[in-house]
Amino acid sequence: MAYTTENNQSGLMAKAIKEGIFAGLIAFGMFLLFVGIETYQDINNQLVWRTRWGLLAVFVAVAAIGRFVTVGFIKPHLDARKLAKAKTGVLEISDKKSFFHRHFLKIALVFLLCYPFLAMLIVGRQGSLKYVDNFGIQILIYVMLAWGLNIVVGLAGLLDLGYVAFYAVGAYSYALLSSYFGFSFWLLLPMAGILAALWGVILGFPVLRLRGDYLAIVTLAFGEIIRLVLINWTDVTRGTFGVSGIAKASFFGIWSFDVGAANNFNKAWGLPSSSVYYKMFLFYIILALCMLTAYVTIRLRRMPIGRAWEALREDEIACRSLGINTVTTKLTAFATGAMFGGFAGSFFAARQGFVSPESFVFLESAVILAIVVLGGMGSLTGIAIAAVVMVGGTELLREMEFLKHIFGPDFTPELYRMLLFGLAMIIVMLFKPRGFVGTREPTAFLKERKAVSGSFTKEGHG
């Protein structure tokens, strides 16, 4: 007995070493050109290259040692634990969930409501600016966009690669209508949503006859067309210069956040002049908008139209045989999703004070879609978690100064954001192929509400 385990042990080590060396070789091959060689412009504007063997060595070492440790120690350990669990008869899926698990949503909401004040308490007024704006507002914008796209992709199963177009329509609606006509944020917010929805219908009508890959390609093209129109229609949109000096949102018309205004919010409340309060106000606006999106989505799912969307994702032909007009059903999904994109867009314009076509590139659509897929298509909670991980993660990577100690002073973590983003996605997809929340909540039940396993739901094909 002892003999065999020993034998196993040495066999395992040999395997771990072999796989470690192999992983190192692959890493060497992959990163040789990406990391090992760097091109830059010298003083004479000539493109020259230099090598970074040290950094390359670090990459290769991380891959090789990581693989060695995984194969040699982590995996056997996990297997042993699983075996032990199976022996004692404790099932992996236990019915009892922890307190945190059961009340996750309530806890999250309370935390979000306190978040700006917590940030202020902990890091002070100026320090909290970053946490409220770069993390809080930024993440919530993506949560809202992803929840909006979720209606189109997650519920109705229509693969839309040009969602950012509606975000752009919302942003430019606010930017242009407020600068040309001086309308207020609170009037333009619903208007931007309606305009975006209208565009959703206009674009959707010809496009939604297509299915699957074709739909994806055409929506992608529409996203680009909107961006190109924004760039080239210089008379109205000022092209690549963008629209600047966009009016701030006011406190429901009662107080203004403009520094010079007579009814300035900070003055009225005797607060020191700081932009933090405006950011906090914006934080609560986007939080409310997110809640609205979630509320409408949850309500719509239980309405016939929401069920029809999900049925459409499952089987379009069966829908038609049941008398469901698939064209109008798809259009409503498209328009509803677009409307939330439009709301988010007008909020974005008000927060930024500046919009340009740069903000509405295809990468944005891809990131939003990635959040929806990672979160688990259709699940609001999963998508919110994915947005926190993805957007918060990329923001955090800007701060990873300590990485410089590992990879040397030349290492700029910002530049590797997208690489790490991709890596994170691959890891999540390997371990959670259906996204963070893979199950689906039924919209009606007879006796008990049982979550539907993700293995039964379809991704849609149209």
């Binding site: 069920r307 999900e310 499952e314 045989s321 008398g323 698939t326 039924p442 007879l446 039964f456």
Partner: protein, 292 residues
């Protein structure tokens, strides 16, 4: 409503006239005419590839026929030309619903949800096209309750009540077939078209299916049925139409069709001389001939 199955001369519910369907060079259906009577089970049978599913697809709007006229008479006296309606209107306006040869359920929705989706149009209207429903008006709440009751009724008939909250994709094959029929019935159709409902069922399941189909007929829905399983066809149908290579080769009561030498030939795939042999036997009265 017509609940009985005998005596009184029955009106026609579906009339197919000179139907032809061409796929490129292939004449899948060639000048095919038949009638289905209200309150009856009409079976459409024929060898593989005869064009039965294609006839269904023409009737239910999934194909536009190359030629021909398909008339549906509703119980309120309205006559509708099905080939002019759009696919979803065939169910919504004409009251024709169908099932599919390869089952098409919403597998990620629960059994109950499948039956609620089928009541989409009724619920849509009750919810004021979503807007009134979002406001939480009682009309919608009542309609939603009624929809669940209707779903329960059909769950009970299809013997699926225990599985109501499970995903449809999790059901056994036979249960999925029954669910598809229940779902089609939830649209309150006047004519129900079933494409091989007994395919893949074991003999016991086949028997319960027969009972279910008779039940549906007795409640006033007419049935049009494609079936290979002769035990089902002969047992429950009132009228049989036989199709081969897109053409009608026989039409009549089950007994008549069963003994039609052309049908026997088509089904057994016998040589021509054997057909003659059978015909000779018929002439001599060795095989009893059914009512003509």
């Amino acid at each position: 409503m017509t609940t009985g199955t005998t005596t009184m001369t029955k009106e026609t519910i579906l009339k197919v006239e000179h139907l032809s369907m061409k796929f490129g060079g292939l004449m899948a259906i060639n000048d095919f005419s038949f009638e289905a009577k209200r309150g009856e089970i009409t079976a459409l049978i024929g060898p593989n590839g005869a064009g039965k599913t294609t006839v269904f697809n023409c009737i239910t709007g999934f194909y536009k026929p190359t030629m021909g006229m398909i008339t549906l008479s509703r119980s309120n006296g309205k006559e509708l030309l099905l080939e002019r309606l759009r696919d979803f209107e065939i169910n919504k306006v004409a009251g024709v619903s169908r099932t599919f040869q390869n089952i098409r359920l919403f597998s990620g929705l629960t059994v109950l949800e499948n039956l609620l989706v089928a009541q989409h149009n009724v619920l849509m209207k009750a919810s004021g096209y979503t807007i009134l429903g979002l406001l939480g008006l009682p009309t919608y709440k009542n309609a939603a309750k009624a929809a669940i009751e209707k779903a329960e009724y059909w769950l009970n008939k299809a013997d699926l009540t225990d599985r109501a909250d499970d995903p449809a994709g999790d059901l056994s094959y036979g249960a999925q077939r029954r669910l598809e029929i229940a779902r089609a019935m939830c649209t309150s159709p006047e004519l129900l078209c079933l494409d091989e409902p007994a395919a893949g069922l074991n003999p016991k399941e086949s028997l319960t299916l027969n009972a279910l189909l008779r039940d549906i007929r007795d409640e006033g829905t007419s049935l049009l049925l494609i079936e290979h399983d002769m035990s089902v066809v002969m047992e429950i149908s009132d009228h049989v139409v036989v199709l081969e290579y897109g053409q009608k080769i026989s039409d009549g009561t089950p007994d008549h069709v069963k003994n039609d030498p052309r049908v026997i030939a088509a089904y057994l795939g016998v040589e021509d001389d054997e057909v003659e042999e059978i015909e000779e036997k018929l002439d001599k009265g060795i095989i009893e001939e059914g009512a003509v």
